[in-house]
């Protein structure tokens, strides 16, 4: 797919790879990247050849340094900002993609970088990756879902500490906390990420999509409701 400036979109052997591609700015997430991410995500969702999605970051310094603060204050009003958040619900679309998603994070993974990784189903990180939510120290709060997704992955108190203090967390600690599913040396990150994603995506796509739905929707239900949902979804596969 051509025409993207802030990211690359590639398909390799059943895996779609979105690479955040503003390496000079440590892939800081800006408005153009948001628009292109939406397009790439739509393409990955609608393409029957794509069985899984990998999100990675270009360049040596890191996966993503967070939102591009140079663009903050560019929204004409609070009402406009609120409208823009939901007009195209990018983070919801990533969360709900009916295919397995994986983030491959190296180096700096701050703010919305961490949040993008948290929106994926699985996370593989390089041993030099560093994670932090620095928003509150800048008078902001995480706004790509982090206040909701992170507690669901690592538990309420750890997420509270991370979001209140902005403390930098190593790949090893992220692994112990359950955030990083795998830690690998930097030079093996992308290759292993693609291998693991392909291994996950080799299962029948319908089953993967239904498991993902059952887990995500069931997390918000009472146990009884969740069990009924699981039975209903299982019946679809016969």
């Amino acid at each position: 797919m051509s025409g993207f400036l802030a990211l690359r979109y590639e398909k390799r052997d059943g895996a779609a790879v979105i690479t955040l591609n503003r390496p000079d700015a440590v892939n800081a997430f800006n408005l153009r990247m948001r628009d292109e991410f939406w397009e790439a995500l739509t393409a990955a969702r609608d393409d029957p050849d794509v069985r899984g999605l990998l999100v990675a970051g270009a360049g040596e310094r890191g996966f993503c340094a967070g939102a591009d603060l140079a663009e903050f204050g560019s929204s004409p009003s609070q009402a406009a900002a609120r409208y823009a958040r939901w007009a195209r619900d990018l983070w919801g679309a990533l969360l709900d993609l009916p295919k397995p998603t994986m983030a491959a994070a190296h180096g700096v993974c701050f703010g919305s970088g961490l949040e993008i990784a948290a929106l994926c189903d699985l996370r593989i990180v390089s041993s030099d990756a560093v994670f932090a939510l620095p928003e509150a120290s800048l008078g902001l709060i995480p706004a790509a879902g982090g206040t909701q997704t992170l507690p669901r992955i690592i538990g309420l108190p750890r997420a509270m500490e991370a979001a209140l203090t902005g403390r930098r967390v190593s790949a090893q600690e992220a692994h112990r906390a359950g955030f990083a599913d795998w830690v690998v040396p930097r030079e093996r990150l992308l290759r292993e990420a693609e291998e693991r994603l392909r291994a996950v995506a080799s299962a029948p796509p319908d089953a993967l999509a239904l498991v993902k739905r059952a887990v995500n929707e069931g997390a918000d239900m009472t146990l009884g409701e969740g069990l009924r949902l699981e039975r209903r979804l299982a019946a679809r596969l016969g």
Binding site: L69, A70, F72, G73, S75, Q78, A81, R82, R85, W86, W91, G92, L95, E135, A136, S137, L138, G139, L140, I141, P142, A143, G145, G146, T147, Q148, T149, L150, P151, R152, I154, G155, L156, P157, R158, A159, M160, E161, A163, L164, T165, G166, R167, R176, A177, N216, A219, D220
Partner: protein, 227 residues
């Protein structure tokens, strides 16, 4: 004065003789005090446990849980039963070398009544909570950190430094972070994401957000005013 405020940090040193009603009142007053950006709780946790047993209806744990500002707790000794229920209403807990944790009221024929059966599983997961609540397991410091009951092993001075760091964040932002993360335990994901987005947009109108972004771009420390 039960609670002292210095450097935008409120400090509560738990001690024998502090009644649950007086503590609850002090916490409610603190919630209305614009000078406090964070509360640091340390001292004698067994004292607050005894106060809670003496006056279980003082609303003390509720008053701590209802604080809008973040609460950092440092546990340097035994923190059992009611005392641990109180500690679980803090946002971040650190454990000193001599810390000990237990939530074993049921072993004595009682049940937790200050949120233990609800906050403990939300903090450490159902399995670890059941081991503590039913079997009386008493995790040591390493285990407490591993299961997420404490967010780290730390000296009191190091834990206080974390409180001071939180006091240096944007005060409204820190309160909104606390509100949004705490709500994640109560709201379906969709509703939680709505809340997060609305709080984020509310911050657009604050001088602190503009100052935070400006200071970042100018590579200097921000000066937050809480407005």
């Amino acid at each position: 004065m039960l609670i002292e405020i210095r450097d935008a940090t409120a400090r509560l040193a738990l001690a024998v003789g502090q009644g649950a009603f007086a503590l609850a009142d002090a916490l409610r007053e603190l919630d209305a005090d614009p000078d406090a950006r964070v509360l640091f709780v340390s001292g004698d946790w067994e004292a607050v446990g005894a106060a809670l047993r003496a006056d279980p209806d003082a609303g003390l744990v509720e008053a701590l849980a209802a604080l809008r500002i973040p609460v950092v707790a440092w546990v340097g000794g035994p923190c059992f039963d009611e005392a641990l229920e109180f500690a679980l209403a803090a946002d971040v807990r650190f454990a000193g070398a001599a810390a000990a944790f237990r939530m074993a009221q049921a072993r004595g024929g009682r049940t937790p009544r200050h949120g233990g059966t609800q906050r403990l599983p939300r903090a450490v997961g159902r399995g670890a909570a059941m081991r503590m609540l039913l079997a009386g397991d008493a995790p040591d410091v390493d285990e407490a950190v591993r299961i997420g009951l404490a967010q780290g092993a730390a000296s009191e001075a190091d834990a206080e430094r974390v409180a001071l760091a939180i006091a240096g964040a944007g005060p409204i932002a820190a309160q909104y972070v606390k509100e949004a993360v705490a709500a994640s335990a109560d709201l379906p994901l969709r509703d939680g994401l709505r809340l997060e987005a609305d709080l984020s947009v509310l911050l657009h109108a604050t001088a602190d957000r503009a100052e935070g972004v400006r200071s970042f771009l100018e590579k200097r420390l921000p000066r937050f005013e809480g407005r």
